[in-house]
């Protein structure tokens, strides 16, 4: 068996029967072997797109995503996606070809030290230097990618190892790292704080989904009825219709969510890391609240704020052990009033009016299937999606949270559609972000995946423009994108059906047409460039001092 054949055998063994990538010189033996393998490869049009597709696949399924690239530029093109996966804790195994061992270290053609480049943006990285190590290294890579707090693992494989003979895999399986066991004393202490608190709030992060603990979370929330807020990555974990669910908190969080957190006397933080986009001015974040922090990663405890009680371990075991019986009637009334008073109102789609992005997205959310998957790019549209669309599960909302990577949306949607071929998959993009991985329209065309692309085009790099308007005295520096191509025509050049709308009255029919179209479709929505995202918490400001409208 050659090294290339062994790699493919290993992928099958680990359930990775669908992978994404782009061929090149140092990975050619693997691509040659692919022709005779049951592994299905999806050719993207850029290595960054391939890795984002693998991220979309992983985030839609909570399985390990796999992508493949060649050495040198193929490997360096992956780096942004690896950093994205690291910051959002996405399980990936990334295979790069490397020049032959005899050429390594000689500045050979397309040689780059990808092992060194990857160190700070991967959970772990390995280079295979002996044929006998190949399969054990791949076994370890899959184990590391998914155990504990998930993350990307890079495996760099010289070309001669792919070409040469490798021994059969040894039957011994790598021992998985045991999850830390939550201490009973910590559980008791947490339950005591919950009972004693007058104004508790549950703060839900992306860790809930990655622990496959959404059912346990929902059970806990239904048992206790406690008020709930969510991070960007946690959206879809709580039930949207729960009367005490207040939505996203943070810089563009919903007003009721931010106010409730600021008034709370106890925060139960579950699978979240107190990101700066969530806390606003840290010293004034939830100033009266004690903290219970539940996570799988010890490094997150006390990192940004001291925890009064910390519980390390598996959320599937911890959440059933948490409880709260004491009545919080006056607090729940306060929360319900906040929710009612601060609820968004949506415009009817009236003829002759500009298209209102929040209203359009709410309509899209209402019209789409309940378990539709929405992927988005980064910027104003991303925040509108988070504020105004509803998700049945966190695996239905794919958004680049930690790294905030423009260009994420379309390739991640492609990966999600590969994972869930029968589900409705949409990419909501900004005009700036869409152009960053526009080449993936070629991937859509090749595989005729029915991904629906919605471009919210304000002809600006919108979020940067918003900050220039609000915090830089309206000094607009390099944020005018009005010379972007006509996206509808661009889609048609790729053989993708499309439509452009400019008037609010066109919204309902255009959304219906898009959703009912059997293949890929692009809807280009022209917006007024003056529209901004509200609320916004200005930099270095406490969340309760958010601006809810233009001043």
């Amino acid at each position: 068996m050659t090294g290339a054949q062994a790699i493919l055998k290993s992928l099958i063994k680990h359930g990775a029967d669908r992978v994404f990538g782009y061929p090149g010189g140092a990975i050619m033996p693997l691509y040659d072997a692919l022709l005779d393998s049951p592994v299905r490869h999806f050719l993207c049009r850029h290595e960054q797109g391939a890795a984002f597709a693998a991220i979309g696949y992983a985030r839609a399924t909570n399985k390990v995503g796999v992508c493949i690239a060649t050495s040198g530029p193929g490997a360096t093109n992956l780096l942004t996606s690896l950093a994205d996966a690291k910051l959002d804790s996405v399980p990936l195994v990334v295979i790069t070809g490397q020049v032959a061992r005899t050429s390594m270290g000689s500045d050979a053609f397309q040689e780059v030290d990808v092992l060194g480049l990857s160190l700070s943006i991967c959970k772990h990285s390995m280079q295979v230097m002996e044929p006998a190590d190949l399969q054990p290294v791949l076994n370890r890579a899959f184990a590391i990618a998914k155990e504990g707090r998930p993350g990307p693992v890079l495996v760099d494989i010289p070309k001669d190892i792919q070409q040469g003979f490798v021994p059969e895999d040894v039957p011994e399986q790598p021992a998985e790292q045991p999850l830390p066991q939550a201490k009973d004393t910590a559980i008791h202490a947490a339950n005591h704080l919950l009972e004693q608190s007058q104004r508790p709030v549950v703060y839900i992060g992306g860790g809930v989904s990655m622990a496959n603990a959404v059912p346990q979370l929902r059970d806990f929330l239904n048992r206790t009825g406690l008020p709930q807020v969510s991070t960007l990555k946690g959206l879809g974990s709580a039930e949207n219709h729960h009367s005490h669910y207040l939505g996203m908190l943070g810089m563009h969080g919903l007003a009721a969510a931010n106010l409730a957190v600021q008034e709370a006397d106890l925060l139960l933080i579950i699978g979240a890391r107190l990101d700066d986009r969530v806390t606003g001015k840290l010293e004034e974040f939830a100033p009266q609240a004690k903290i219970i922090h539940v996570d799988i990663d010890p490094a997150e405890i006390h990192k940004r704020r001291h925890a009064d009680v910390s519980i390390l371990g598996d959320l599937q075991q911890i959440l059933p052990a948490l409880d709260c019986h004491s009545q919080k009637s006056s607090w729940l009334e306060r929360v319900e009033k906040l929710k009612q008073r601060k609820a968004f109102s949506y415009a009817a789609h009236q003829a002759g009016e500009d298209i209102d992005a929040p209203s359009l997205l709410r309509s899209l959310s209402d019209l789409s299937e309940e378990d539709a998957i929405v992927s988005c790019d980064v910027g104003q549209h991303q925040m509108w999606v988070a504020q105004h669309m509803q998700f049945s599960h966190p695996t239905r909302h794919l958004s680049s949270g930690g790294l905030g990577t423009m260009g994420f949306g379309l390739p991640a949607a492609i990966g999600a559609q590969v994972a869930e071929p029968d589900k409705q998959v949409m990419a909501v993009c900004g005009d700036g972000s869409f152009m960053m991985n526009v080449q993936e329209l070629g991937t859509l065309r090749r595989y005729q995946m029915p991904v629906k692309i919605l471009i919210l085009d304000n002809q600006r790099l919108g979020m940067v423009k918003q900050w220039q308007e609000l915090f830089h005295d309206e000094r607009y520096s390099e944020t005018d994108l009005s010379d972007n191509p006509p996206f509808s025509q661009l889609a048609q050049a790729f053989g993708i059906a499309s439509c452009e709308i400019t008037d609010a009255a066109e919204v309902p029919a255009a959304l219906k047409t898009m959703l009912e179209h059997p293949g890929p479709y692009l809807l280009h929505v022209r917006l007024d460039h003056k529209a901004n995202v509200w609320p916004i918490v200005p930099p270095n400001t406490a969340n309760h001092k958010m601006w809810e409208q233009a001043r």
Partner: protein, 80 residues
């Protein structure tokens, strides 16, 4: 504060780089460093200083897959 750390690492490519990179990124400066390969692995002694609590660094070092053990030997007041 200044801290003396004793680390034992598996002898893998980039094991030392990972420790150095993690230390720098988490805001600590290295003032002394000694390393030798014992045959069983890499024995590393490192004196670091930084404004943050040392657990900000050690919890990250514990996540390195090449790290077999980590001990904080002593804590000294920072000298001028």
């Amino acid at each position: 504060m200044t801290y003396d750390l004793e680390l034992f690492l598996s002898d893998q490519p980039a094991a030392l780089e990972r420790v150095l990179q993690t230390t720098r990124y988490r805001g600590f400066k290295i003032s002394q460093l000694q390393m030798h390969n014992s045959g069983a692995g890499l024995q590393l002694s490192m004196q670091v200083s930084g404004p943050q609590p040392i657990n900000i660094l050690t919890t990250q070092l514990h996540k390195l897959y090449d790290l077999a053990s980590l001990n904080i030997e002593q804590t000294l007041p920072q000298t001028a």
